[in-house]
Every structure is written in C-alpha cells, then in structure tokens.
C-alpha cells in the first residue's frame, strides 16, 4: 500500500516561521503568534450578548498571567491538570497555561457523571482541576474522597459558589490576580515564563485524551506536542488555512477533534476561534460569526436539514415553489459546479439565479455563508444528506480519524469528494490493510502510548509504529479509503469473499422506507437480509396510495411494500456489483419481519444497534428458510409490550429472491483471494 507524502510546511507554516526555528510545542506557537500576529484576533467570545475579541497579544498575556498564578499555587512541570467545561476562552487559555509550565492537560467531557469523572481524575493523577462552574465543582466535591491527589479546584464562573468553603477552591480570577501581582512586583516574571516555555520539547506529552471505549474503562491516550503541532500544521496545509480563517468551537474540548481543530490548528495557523455564548446558542452564534471552517458529525447536518424542511413547510406558496424548483436545479448541477466540472450554460445561469434567491439565503440561515471547508466524520453520512449540502455550494467533505492518530488518517481533497469514501491518506500518513481486512496507519500524529496501560498499547500499536484502527476497509480504484465495518464484525462468505453486515445494512437503511436491517452471510454461500420497514415513512406512503392496513404486521406483509423494498435492494445490488470487494455480497434473498426489532425484546442495544447473533438465534426458522429456497416461512415470537406485559406474535412471511449482477471481469476472483 502506498502512503502519500506531501510536504507539510506549505502555505501558513513556512511563511510564518521566518525568525528562528519552527515552534515545536503549542506554547511556542502561542509566543510566535503574539509576536507575529499581535493585533490580529485570536479568540472571539460572546459575552452579555456582545461579541468580544481577544487579540493574540491579549490571549498570550492572559495565558502568561494564568500560568504564573498557577505556579504560585504550586503547579509544577510534569503535573496533570483536568480541564472541564464548555468551549470558553479562559478554558482554552488553561490548556496553554498548563502546557507552558510543562504540565499535561487532561480535558474531561463536561457532561460526564461524577463517577466517570472520578475514574479519569484518579487515573490521570490530577493535582489541579480547572472547571467552568458550580455544576462541575459539585461533581468534584461529590467524589472528592476518591481523589486524594486532587489538591486544588479552580472555577471560572462564580455563580452559586460564594458560600462554598474556599480552602482548596479558588476563583479563576483569584489565580489571575496572583499572576498579575507577581508580574507587577517581579520584573523578571515574564522572562521566567518564556524560559519555562523554551524548556519544552516536541517529544513532551502535551495532552491526555480519555477515549470512552465500547468496553471496559476509558483509556488515556497520551499525545505529544509533536503529535499535535505536526498534525495541526498538516491539517492547515491540506486545506490551505490562513490567519483569515475563522472557526467556531462547540464540540466537547475533551474530544480529539476539537483539540486539533480549535486548539492545535488555531495556534499553528494563527486562525481565529469563536466561542459561542453557551451550548444552546450555537446555531445563532454560528450565523453571526459565519465560520470559514466548520466541523460537525452527521447528526448536526441532519438536524439542520430537518429544521430547513420544517420551516419551508410553513413558508408561503411562492417561496416554497422557488425552493423546490431551485433545489432541483442544484441537485442537477450544484455538485458539478462545486467540483469545477463542465456544466451547460443554461444550468450555470439558473444556478446563479438560485444562488441569489435560495442557496445564498439558506447558507446564511444555517450560518455557513462564508464556509470554505466543512468536514463531517464520526459515522457514515447518508448520501442524500451529503449531496444536499454540496449541491447548495457548501464544500462539505469527509474525513476519517482517531484519537490515537491526532485525528487525521484520511481526508477528501477538494474536487475528489465521494459520499461513500473517507478520502485519501492525509499528509505524512501511510496506510495499509492487513490480511484480515483491518486498516492500519502510521503517521507523525500517532500517539505515544496509553497512560498506565501497556497491555492495551501493545495490542493497538506495533513496535514499528503502525496502529490498528479496529475498522475493516479497503482502498478503492481512486486510492480512496472505504470503511466498511468494525474489523471484528467482518466475516467471510464460503467462497472466501469479505462479508460486512454493517456496510450492507447501512446502505439499505439510507432509504427512508427501511428502519432496520440485519444481514446474514458469514459462513454461508450468499447474502440474505431481514428488513424492518419504517412505519412512519411507509405508513404515509400507504395513506397516499390508498393502501389500507390494520397493523404493522399487515403493512409489512403487503405485496406492494415488498415490491418497494425489492426495488431498493436491487439498486444496491447493482451498485455493489461495481465494487470489486463487495460484488460477492449482493443480496440474493430477503424477507420483511412481521415485528419491529426492539430493545425491550433484546433485539437491539439501548443505543439502537442491532444484535445480530441474538436475532439469528431468535429467528432461526426464518434464517433457515432464507437458505433452503422456500418461498415462505412462519414462526411465532414472544414480544414485550411497553407496560411490561408479554405476548406472542406469530406470522407467516414471504421470502423474495433478488436478481444479482455480474461483476466486472476478474473482480470475483480477485475478491475471493
């Protein structure tokens, strides 16, 4: 597998490191920015309804004062400090202050319950906790007996805390006061602080991010300054960010994405970071700031679209007609225009008009009017959703990353954006696929180790620096990575071809008619599927088409519903045939279940993930029928009602065969190897 090596220090990096060596730690970046971009905005924050700006010089002064205050309170090189709260300038300053003294920042998710926090605080041997408000202080007090090492708690917002015992509890303003006093009586204080920063090395650990694994206790991922600084610089170079770019910080600071984008890249490229007034005002604040760089998980984009749709329902007839018409135009040519591909003159003109009347105002409504680069990651994004935003002229792209990689593994370059891939290896990232289909990577962002957990480190990281992602995937013909499933869930068909249930299930679940799907195929000759229809969507279709039904069961068994699903699956088979690794996974038979899969019956997890093995066992007669060629099967299943009573549902289900398509020549053999 070929890794891509792009030079990291283009654009921003090289133009800014004129004097002296390139900064290799985040505090050194801060000092450089305070020198070279002194009066440019570093942070904006909405306070009492008005946007306030901190310049790089002011931000650096804040960090210096904070750091000196912390030292006065006994914070030493190598100490760990927890940082807990919403995205606020003073908490970002806390990162830099702690790191400037050679300390390690340990951000913790602000919505964790006290016990989860206690585990991380104890494991990371935290001495100082810098928190936002009373809510966090109360949690720390509740678990204080488990935390003998926690010495001082510093809070930003005073509200409700004045009556608390302040022997170990301090207002952030008090700490800043200590720093200010020292700076006024000791003329050498500022120089001392710069010396402290100069002592820092790129190989020092800068931050520990706890990842909430699906099983077991969270692990502390140790990232060095090199990890953060180089990854941030590469990220900036990849999308050519300059000090004119603005981003908005609203995702948890304990999450690696925010740490790299909002903290690392802002420092590395002297970008401007905007902090919203509070978690509930993000949408409006985003509109006011109009970031040029924006990251959001798919659900945020989903919510935005839902809100647009709901508001369009209430709009007047003319507006609605315009919206519908121009969205069709955008759907036809918007993405091509974005990617710089040829488009007919008529469409180009129509798109221009649509931009003035519809797309522009829409982009403005959702706060993306100045957006240059938008990323989504975390989970698969529906192709429809993805295309909707791109058709509006929003440069939305996907990336694939991990905490252990300091985010970046693959990204989609401008003009090479596909809904079903996660892009090409980022700058300095190498990728390989193991024999079992697992994706491995090696990059300058690769973490040092898990804190106090060598066993987990050795399981994840090879001695020569490759890291297992735990995800199965492959590189397609364009050199783009496709993630198909968790590696442990990937199986093989009897002919040896890769079988990824989740990949197939997600494909069909993107259609509104399908709520859940369960794919079978591991250790079988071909792939089959259980389908759960979406009652809301199919129900409304039935209403519009005069299909009457008395129950979910009846609707699910309706021949026309079967036809709809069969048509959708046929579309999927057709596209699967074109993917060399997936051609063998075409769905050959399916049935529609007579009941909805439900967590109360143990068929789903509480987080709404299907439990495939449990379902296979429970519906064994149906699975058997899928593979013995029969046209129908019947069985009964016990169900639990909302009020806890149990009953039995029994039914007969039809099984339909689907057409499969021949793969392009040579593909089947290659995949089977």
């Amino acid at each position: 597998m070929g890794g891509h090596h792009l030079s990291a220090s283009q654009a921003v990096g090289s133009s800014m490191s004129g004097s002296g060596s390139t900064p290799d730690t985040t505090p050194k970046l801060l000092v450089r920015n305070a020198r070279e971009f002194a009066d440019r905005p570093a942070l904006r924050h909405k306070d009492f309804g008005i946007w306030q700006t901190l310049t790089w010089r002011e931000f650096s002064d804040l960090v210096m004062t904070f750091a000196i205050g912390l030292r006065k309170m006994g914070f030493m090189r190598g100490d760990t400090a927890a940082i807990i709260g919403d995205n606020r300038p003073k908490l970002y300053a806390a990162f830099a202050a702690v790191q400037s003294l050679g300390g390690i920042a340990v951000p913790i998710y602000q919505d964790s319950v006290a016990d989860e926090m206690a585990y991380v605080l104890a494991h990371a041997e935290v001495r100082f906790a810098i928190v936002q408000d009373q809510e966090q202080v109360d949690k720390l007090i509740a678990v204080s007996e488990q935390l003998p090492k926690l010495e001082r708690v510093i809070y930003e917002e005073e509200r409700g805390l004045t009556a608390y015992d302040h022997t170990r509890l301090h207002a952030l303003d008090t700490v800043l006061g200590l720093g200010r006093k020292e700076l006024s009586v000791n003329p050498g204080a500022a120089g001392w602080w710069l010396d402290e920063i100069a002592q820092g090395k790129g190989s020092d650990v800068s931050v520990m991010l706890y990842t909430s694994g699906t099983t077991g206790r969270p692990k502390g991922v140790m990232l060095t300054h090199d990890n953060i600084v180089i990854s941030a610089r590469n990220g900036n170079a990849f999308d050519r960010f300059t000090p004119d770019d603005t981003l908005i910080a609203y995702l948890p600071m304990a999450w690696v994405g925010d740490h790299i984008f909002s903290y690392g890249q802002t420092l590395a490229g002297a970008l401007c970071l905007a902090c919203p007034e509070g978690p509930e005002t993000v949408t409006e604040d985003r509109r006011e700031i109009a970031p040029t760089y924006f990251f959001a998980p798919p659900r945020v984009f989903e919510n935005m679209l839902t809100r647009i749709r709901v508001r369009m329902e209430d709009a007047g007839r003319v507006k609605k007609a315009m919206f519908d018409y121009f969205l069709k135009v955008a759907d036809r040519c918007g993405e091509k225009i974005l990617d710089g591909k040829p488009v007919s003159l008529k469409d180009r003109l129509l798109y221009r008009i649509g931009d003035v009347f519809v797309y522009g105002p829409l982009r403005n409504q959702i706060g993306l009017s100045r957006l240059r680069v938008g990323y989504t990651a975390g989970e698969a994004i529906g192709p429809e959703l993805f295309r909707f935003y791109r058709a509006l002229g929003i440069n939305l792209k996907q990336l694939y990353g991990q905490t252990e990689a300091s985010v970046y593994i693959t990204l989609q370059p401008d003009g090479e954006v596909f809904a079903d891939t996660v892009g090409k290896p980022g700058p300095d990232v190498e990728i390989k696929i193991s024999d079992a289909g697992e994706v491995l990577y090696r990059s300058p962002g690769v973490f040092l180790k898990y804190f106090k957990n060598d066993e987990a480190t050795n399981e994840t990281k090879t001695p020569d620096g490759w890291v297992r992602t735990g995800d199965a995937g492959f590189l397609d013909s364009h050199g783009h990575l496709k993630i198909i499933d968790r590696a442990k869930d990937v199986g093989r068909l009897n002919n040896g071809a890769l079988f990824s249930p989740k990949y197939l299930e997600n494909r069909i679940k993107f259609y509104p008619e399908v709520r859940e799907a369960v794919a079978f195929g591991h250790g079988r000759d071909y792939v089959t599927m259980f389908i759960n229809i979406d009652l809301v969507s199919v129900g409304s279709w039935a209403e519009r088409n005069n299909v009457s039904y008395a129950s979910y069961q009846e609707l699910a068994a309706h021949p026309r519903v079967y036809d709809i699903v069969a048509k959708r699956l046929d579309e999927i088979n057709r596209s699967l045939a074109e993917e060399p690794q997936m051609a063998a996974s075409q769905i050959q038979r399916f049935l529609i279940l007579f009941k909805e899969l439900d967590a109360d019956d143990g068929e789903m997890t509480r987080t709404q993930k299907v439990r495939r093995s449990f379902i296979a066992e429970r519906y064994a007669p149906l699975v058997k029928a899928l593979y013995d060629g029969s046209g129908k099967a019947s069985m009964s299943a016990e169900v639990t009602f909302e009020d806890g009573r149990k009953g039995t549902l029994s039914g007969e289900v039809r099984i339909l065969d689907l057409k499969t398509y021949p793969a392009p020549a040579g593909v089947m053999r290659e995949a089977a190897e």
Binding site: G49, S144, E145, G160, D165, T167, R168, E277
Partner: protein, 274 residues
C-alpha cells in the same frame, strides 16, 4: 477520610444570613370578600435575608397573603409594616418602588414581547429620563438604556436564558416562562422577592435549576425571599422558616423541622375525621 483536603460547601441548613432584623411584618390582618373570610387575624414576619415559605392546602389564603403584602388587596383589619414603616394597606406601586417584586402563579408576562423586552420592563421604575428625552432617544436616553441593558444582560446570563433572548415569550415552554418572570422581578433589584408557586408544573430538572437560582439570588444579592410552594420537599430544603395557613388561619410557624412535626399541620394536610 480526606474531608479536610478537599473543597466542601458550607452547610446550608438553618437561617444562614437572616440576622433577625424584621424586613416586613404583617400584624393581625383579616381579609374578606363579602362573606368569605380569606384571611383571619394572621400575623407573620419576614426577616432580612431569609427564605420564608408560606404553605397550606388549597384555598388556605396563601396567594391572598402575597396580594396583601404587595398591596393588591387591602385588608379590612390589621397593618403591614415594611422597612419599619407601618401602613394600613400597601399600594402596588409603593410596594414596587420600595423594593418588593413578585412573580405570579399563572405567569403574567407580555406574551408577544421577547424575553429581553419583558425583563427590560422590570427596569421601568429605574428609568429616570422623561418622556421627551426618551422620544428623542439619542444622547442621555441612549446612555441610560445601555446601562439598563447591561443589567438585563447580567440577569439573562445569571438565569442561563441567552438562547431565548430574542424569542417571544408566548412561544416558550412553561418552565422557561417562569424563569423569564423571575428575571423581570430581579430586574427591579428587589429587597423582598415574592414568588407565587415558582415551581408549579416543572419537571425535576427544572425544579433543581429554579432552586439553585433562588438560593443564589439570596446568597449573592442578599435578597429576602417569600415563596408559596406546593412541593413540600422543595419547601423543606430551601426555606429557613415556614408559615402554614389553613382556612385563612395561621396554624403553625417555625423552622421546616418544627413545622413538619406539628400535629395541626399534619391534620390539615391529611385531614382529620370531623
């Protein structure tokens, strides 16, 4: 035990701030509407800095008592003294200008106005500029408005309602409307805050938030608070002293613990065979 090493809050029980000075006293008040006696010869006092709860079954005369205190009702007998000055009856505008603010059982906001404007109305009595200057706006009036806006923004920040700053209050859920109403009362910078069922119809989380705000208002601004509340758990946790009314009579008065143990109170709430 590491209790000494780690931060601990000061215990909250008991009248922490109340220093014994009586802020408001109601003496031998009786109020009737025609033949219906709403309040019969009730005396009670509210001390500076305390949280004083008024409880009682439905129709006990709690809201009537609040209305007497802020001058909405005029009692037939008895006197009210506020900050040492005795009156036969209060008048609402005197009450407001002297530092008594209140919220209502059924939220009484301007539904079509935004949260910001509603809270701004709480500043009306603090506006010093005359109608002509206000009409001209620029200059002194503008400067005054900016000052008031700052106070209002601080209240918005304090009550964590930034996200609804510009939303018409009629569109807000009930719990938030209650919060806006509290904000408007706070905007008058009251010495005595009367809250009529501040937590009615709220879920647990909203109740917790509201309790936090009430405690903080008392602690941070040293505002005296009198509240009517049906959630007995909340009353017992929040208040320093509780007075219990039943059929317009005072049947008990004391600390939450004393009131809880009082047989007359238990009878009034659970009923006794007649």
């Amino acid at each position: 035990m590491k209790a000494d090493v780690n931060p601990k809050p000061v215990a909250r029980s008991g009248p922490v701030v109340a220093n014994g000075d009586v802020l408001l006293a109601v003496s031998n008040v009786s109020l009737s509407f025609g033949g219906v006696k709403a309040i019969r010869d009730v005396s009670l006092d509210i001390r500076k800095g305390e949280i004083r709860a008024i409880i009682g079954p439905n129709g006990a005369g709690k809201t009537s008592m609040l209305n007497v205190i802020n001058g909405f009702y005029h009692p037939q007998q008895g006197t009210i003294s506020f900050k040492g000055r005795e009156r036969r009856a209060m008048r609402p505008y005197i009450a407001a200008s002297q530092g008594i603010a209140r919220t209502f059982q059924n939220v009484a906001l301007f539904k079509g106005m935004s949260t910001l404007d509603n809270i701004m109305t709480g500043r009306t009595l603090k506006m010093r500029k005359g109608i002509i200057q206000q009409a001209l706006y620029w200059g002194l009036s503008q400067r005054e408005e900016i000052q008031h806006r700052r106070v209002v923004e601080e209240i918005i920040d304090f009550l964590e309602i930034q996200h609804i700053r510009k939303t018409p209050v009629g569109k807000l859920p009930y719990g938030l409307q209650k919060r806006v109403e509290l904000g408007r009362a706070l905007a008058t910078e009251p010495e005595l805050l009367l809250l009529d069922e501040p937590m009615a119809g709220m879920n647990l989380e909203e109740k917790q938030d509201m309790s936090r705000f009430i405690l903080t208002v008392r602690d941070a601004f040293n505002t005296t608070i009198a509240l009517i509340e049906h959630d007995i758990g909340v009353v017992m946790d929040l208040s320093d002293r509780v007075v219990v009314l039943d059929y317009g009579r005072k049947i008990a008065d004391g600390t939450p613990a004393e009131v809880q143990a009082n047989q007359a109170v238990i009878d009034a709430y659970l009923g006794i065979p007649h």
